[in-house]
């Protein structure tokens, strides 16, 4: 692998790429497999994720940080959503998967935990856009660039995500 890294930008970027490639390749695959449920597609998703990450190398302050890991996984999720859409020829709306790709905790001990659990229950494209907006603090413009959609679509999707979350919250309160 190292010989292929000879040409990637500066030495610093080369080192970042090497770390990210060796540290997250299988984790990206793991996430992709849980979402797409197909090993071949999941490998394609890993490749696509690196395609999206390479131009961002200069922006990674510390590839070993939790923030980098979060960003890598979030990028993988958005790649999977895109691949899922292409496969199912869906352009808009919520992307529901047969099963939720992750385990969701049953009980919450605070409002934050409760809403966090509900975010995890959202369709993946809604939870991903919420994470871009609220955990990374991206602007609509930056999210649009990340997801290759228009800013107006970002706003629409955020609104739908919020509304979906509110509905889940109403449902959760009704069951109390």
């Amino acid at each position: 692998m190292l010989i292929y890294l000879a040409g990637i930008g500066s030495e610093e970027e080369k080192s970042k790429f090497e770390y990210i490639y060796e540290s997250y390749q299988k984790q990206i695959y793991y996430v992709a497999l849980r979402i797409l449920k197909d090993s071949h597609l999941a490998e394609d998703a890993v490749h696509e994720t690196f395609l999206k990450l390479i131009p961002k190398l200069p922006d990674f302050k510390d590839p070993k940080s939790g923030e980098t890991r979060r960003y890598v996984i979030l990028t993988a999720e958005s790649v999977c959503i895109d691949m899922y859409r292409k496969k199912h020829k869906r352009d808009v709306g919520a992307v529901f998967f047969e099963d939720l790709p992750y385990e969701v905790a049953a009980a919450a001990s605070s409002d934050t935990d409760e809403v966090a659990i509900l975010i995890e229950k959202l369709p993946l494209n809604y939870s991903v856009i919420i994470k871009y907006k609220y955990t990374f603090g991206f602007t609509d413009k930056e999210i649009a660039k990340e997801l290759a959609i228009t800013e107006s679509n970002v706003r629409k999707r955020l609104e739908r995500a919020r509304n979906a979350l509110l509905k889940l919250m109403e449902g959760a309160e009704a069951t109390l």
Partner: protein, 230 residues
């Protein structure tokens, strides 16, 4: 409970933490990536070795996308057949998939030519009305591209590559690849998306030409490709 921006922010962070906690560490995940994946990753990493000008040209010039053929649906690919032939310095393998044809180069025992030996070959014949509108010359990485256009925005794209164990793909959905002779060399012709492509190798290089001029004229240009006089 009221969904405030602050609550949403805290909850989003918590949701992210919950998710990441479920993903095992890298060394705990037992998966051996397929050869196809390894090959794609090598290609991806190699593409980063190109000077930015080349990558930019590849990105912005959609016409060259066909030549360099990046956009294919790999996930639906089914291998239909494999043919191989040998040249002096490298081996060219052609794999025909359902929707595209992949040309793969593997350096043989003779070894790759030193980059310093790279010699530029150019088409001696270009039809009337076409002028050189773009050129990329990077002999240091073994890549040459010339683009010629006419007044009606028809184009001819010529590429010369030094095969370095790389891969080129052509969209061959709903079309076939026809064997042709380019001078003394074995070549191939395909028509796809309204474009005519001829590709071939000589002892040292891989060439391809994309036009919208039909097989005969494209082949004529291909046959005129000769070593550039210094």
């Amino acid at each position: 409970m009221i969904l405030t921006e602050e609550l949403l922010r805290r909850a989003a962070v918590q949701a992210e933490i919950n998710l990441l906690a479920q993903i095992p560490q890298e060394n705990e995940i037992k998966h051996t990536f397929s050869k196809r994946y390894e090959r794609k990753m090598r290609r991806l990493i190699r593409s980063q070795r190109r000077p930015p000008a080349v990558n930019t040209a590849i990105r912005v010039t959609k016409r060259t996308v066909l030549v360099l053929a990046a956009a294919v649906t790999l996930m639906l690919a089914t291998v239909l057949g494999v043919g191989a032939w040998r040249a002096r310095f490298f081996e060219m393998l052609q794999e025909v998939f359902e929707k595209y044809t992949e040309i793969r180069f593997e350096i043989t025992d003779g070894g790759a030519r030193a980059v310093s030996e790279f010699e530029i070959w150019i088409p001696a014949y270009i039809p009337d009305g076409y002028n050189l509108t773009a050129s990329i010359e990077h002999p240091e990485i073994g890549f040459i591209m010339y683009e010629y256009s006419d007044a009606y925005n028809h184009f001819i794209v010529y590429c010369q590559n030094l095969p370095d164990a790389g891969v080129v793909q052509y969209n061959t959905e709903n079309t076939g690849v026809i064997d042709v002779k380019v001078g003394e060399n074995a070549g191939h012709y395909l028509a796809t998306d309204g474009r005519d492509v001829v590709f071939w190798t000589n002892d040292s290089y891989f060439f391809d030409i994309t036009t919208s001029l039909g097989e005969k004229e494209t082949l004529r240009i291909a046959k005129s490709v000769t070593k550039k006089k210094s």
